[in-house]
């Protein structure tokens, strides 16, 4: 054997051995990935059928790779390596998509031609709704990992440019038809005494990109999509199109750069439109106490691990409601927790700063504003975008309820009836008003009778 062969073999087997030994040190294996906001693959349960059909060993392979001790370092290394694949100053993550054509809004709402399907893939909570209307201030603060998150969202295609990323919108007509039909059904079931508002929240690319860039990438027109959905709704439904007001302010900080959500400022402009529709005067931003949380690295950062984003994180601004900052939420096990509507997330992880709003994604939450005594009430059917919107509503109602459409397991008409609610406000981002899976969950909230 040549000397170089010997050295080569020694070097290779030393490195292989070291990596193998590191992999074998069980206690070093992580269980969760903070940056990805998920639990890593658990060690599989041994079953005979799992051995026979190979599912046990498949999970074992997955577990081994997913929880390898040097995982974080290697993922960063792999990311560095991928940055050498080409000029990645601008990239699109996700495959080349195309939305459906958006027809002109019809004047007569069509009947949906498909059966309502059972939602799947999302954990749902037990029905809640037995909370007392008045609550004490929060007495306990959870650990610094943040508000317990009850579920994750999957990001669609995104456009990444330097330290900023943007959600891309592709219209899905059947989902949009079904969403509008669900809202119409809500109106039919709950009757004229209940005011229904629909606020479809545009995604960042539709508001921030030039029209020409949107066309180049083949994005669906978000304004036209909202127009279309609204056109399908019963005239008695207050269907808002907040596209124009956001677009008019698109040189402001309306969306985060490292996260898919809008900012409280974006939500504020939507709130002013709602006030206009309701015929009440909106509060001005300077009336609220402002809280600022710096160093926010959101979902886009988790997705890309972009060094540019890391060097230039987002800042979360939140506006504390005047009437009360107290709320109660019920988690998926129906455990009630007292909380702050604008919660101090100062010491939270960098990825958890958006959790400052409205208790984050809990199935059911409630706030009572003692400054208002007219018995007024509303329920917001929301996704995580809605969290930034809800604080502005607090100063307009005595009782404010909000339910996360993905996790709330009761029905909307029952809640409205039980709580004697006047206003029902759907506040979902455009993806959730058009994507089949999400709309299925909205459907579930609103049964025929």
């Amino acid at each position: 054997m040549k000397k170089t062969d010997r050295i080569k073999n020694i070097v290779f087997f030393t490195v292989l051995g070291a990596l193998a030994i590191i992999g074998a040190i069980w206690p070093l294996r992580p269980h969760v990935s903070e940056v990805e906001k998920r639990e890593l693959t658990p060690f599989p349960h041994f079953t005979l059928s799992g051995i026979m059909d190979g599912s046990f060993t498949m999970e074992l392979d997955k577990w081994y790779a997913d929880t390898y001790p040097l995982r974080d370092i290697f993922i960063r290394g792999a990311n560095r390596l991928k940055s050498l694949y080409g000029n990645r100053s601008v990239t699109i993550i996700g495959n080349d998509n195309h939305g459906d054509d958006i027809p002109d809004a019809p004047s007569v709402p069509p009947e949906p031609s498909y059966p309502a399907t059972e939602p799947s893939g999302t954990s749902a909570a037990e029905p809640t709704g037995t909370l007392p209307p008045d609550t004490d201030p929060p007495t306990t603060v959870p650990p610094d990992t943040g508000v317990p998150v009850t579920g994750g969202e999957v990001l669609g295609s995104i456009y990444v440019s330097g330290d900023s990323a943007y959600s891309l919108f592709y219209f899905n007509r059947s989902g949009a038809d079904r969403y509008a039909a669900a809202i119409n059904r809500a109106h039919k079931v709950m009757g004229d005494e209940v005011n229904i508002y629909s606020v479809a929240i545009p995604l960042s690319s539709g508001i921030l990109f030039d029209k020409s860039l949107q066309e180049d990438i083949g994005l669906s027109d978000e304004r036209a999509a909202i127009e279309y959905i609204n056109g399908l709704m019963d005239p008695a439904v207050h269907a808002l199109n907040i596209y124009d007001v956001l677009r008019a302010h698109n040189d402001e900080y309306l969306y985060f750069r490292t996260d898919h959500h809008w900012t409280a400022l974006g939500a504020y402009y939507a709130y002013t439109e709602l006030c206009r529709e309701k015929g009440v005067a909106p509060h001005t931003l300077d009336q609220f106490e402002e809280k600022t949380f710096t160093g926010f690295l959101g979902s886009y950062y988790s997705k890309t691990l972009s060094e540019d984003m890391k060097e230039n994180p987002d800042t979360v601004k939140a506006y504390v409601p005047m009437g009360t900052n107290l709320m109660v939420y019920a988690d998926k096990n129906c455990n009630e927790t007292k909380w702050d509507i604008i919660h101090n997330v100062e010491g939270y992880k960098t990825g958890a700063k958006y959790y400052c709003f409205s208790g984050s994604d809990q199935p059911y939450s409630y706030a009572h504003n003692p400054q208002i005594t007219d018995g007024s009430s509303c329920v917001v059917i929301k996704d995580s975008f809605g969290n930034a919107f809800i604080p502005f509503l607090i100063d307009h109602y005595e009782h404010i309820y909000w339910i996360d459409f993905r996790y709330y397991n009761g029905t909307l008409p029952a809640l409205v009836r039980d709580k004697n609610i006047n206003d029902v406000i759907f506040c979902l981002n455009l993806d959730n008003t058009t994507a089949t899976g999400a709309v299925g969950l909205v459907d579930r909230l609103i049964p025929e009778s």
Partner: protein
Amino acid sequence: MVFSSMSFVLVFFAVTILGHSLMPSVRAKNIFLLIASLIFYSWASLAFTAILLFDVFVCWFIALLLEVYKGKVRRRLLTVCVALLLSVLGVFKYLSFLLENLRLLTGIPKVVPDIVLPLGISFYTFQLISYAVDVYRGKVRAQRRFWVLLLYASLFHQCVAGPIVRYGDIARELHDRRVTGSGISRGISRFTVGLAKKSILANSCAVVADAFFTGGASALALKPVAGLWLSAFAYALQIYLDFSAYSDMAIGMGLMCGFHYRENFNYPYVSLSVTEFWRNWHISLSSFFRDYVYIPLGGNRRGKARQILNLFVVWFLTGLWHGASWNYIIWGMFFFLLLVPEKAVPDRVLRAVPGVFRYAAMLLIICLSWVIFRFEDLHSLLTVLAGMLGLNGNALYSAVTGITLKSNWALLLVSAVACTPFWHNLRLWLRDSRNSAARVIYRAYDVLHPAILLVLSVMVLTGNTYNPFIYWTF
């Protein structure tokens, strides 16, 4: 457990190489390898192991009889053996396809059973057929020990995705082989180059291929022309880098254990004709069809018409071997239709065409063939082919195409170069150079590249859930 998984590289491979080298004798090494191979095979599903054992048993038993009997009985025995092996393959791989087509034609049966394809069955069935035929032909002696034949068929290096190793090639090494330091050195180079080709290059090319080859026919109908070509090119790179990587790793592990498997790929993408391409692509499969189908049918010795029929049979079977779906048969026929006229043209005429044109034509043929290979749904396939020709009324180019190309150009360039003998020749040039600096670079490269490629590959594989081998189920 695919070769390019963390658990394979850092547990299974590491343990088996160590264990194999510690075994005191060839017999002990063989027993160790057999146990390891059965564990490896059972890892995918314990149930499949029974089928493997059955096939090997049939083959082992009949091969022994072939050495006892003479004359017509031998022929009948061989027929029974091959028929049994092909029946098992047929039931597990083609029955659903057959019934589905029958159902479309006649409405019967109402429900087509969903049969799971046992791992590597296409590969080990062909290995066992080659063994039985070679015993029948007297080219190799029948293996007396069942477990040694089982080791040949189940050896984890090549059992599930090739190369289709002939028994005669390793018959001697099954009993008498030496593991040398230089063999290990060559083996680890081959193994790590394969690992890096798969986990870094092929998997990344797959992302580019998937960028436009995504969705059903209605989504594919909207893709821009240049985007489809970009995906077709990336897919061609992916499929070679993926499949040849598997063979690299198999050959590398063989070397580390003292086995010498034949090459399965010889830079097929620099071929100047379809014949040359198939001489260099998946060599163990094309030589199988040559030796066990084409030549027994008469090859080119029974006149032109018969040769064309023989070619038709071979290419129909080659297509069908790759999968139970019409697109694979069309893919085989595509090559048949190209090979017949190519064989009719005299060599000197082909040579008169400038190489650059022949190369460009081959590149086009290769990309198109893989597009056919990719889409099992014929509607999607026709949509993509029409789209590539600009017949779907889409833009030639889109911003997304530009961004995809721009953000992957270096990857595609390196991958394309990896399909050529460039690195190999550069390495030899450095090694044989009289320049001392070049030789130092060569030595540093030679000593360090396996470890570096291992670390880079493991890095890329960590937490990477996208990792299926394209050829895994064949």
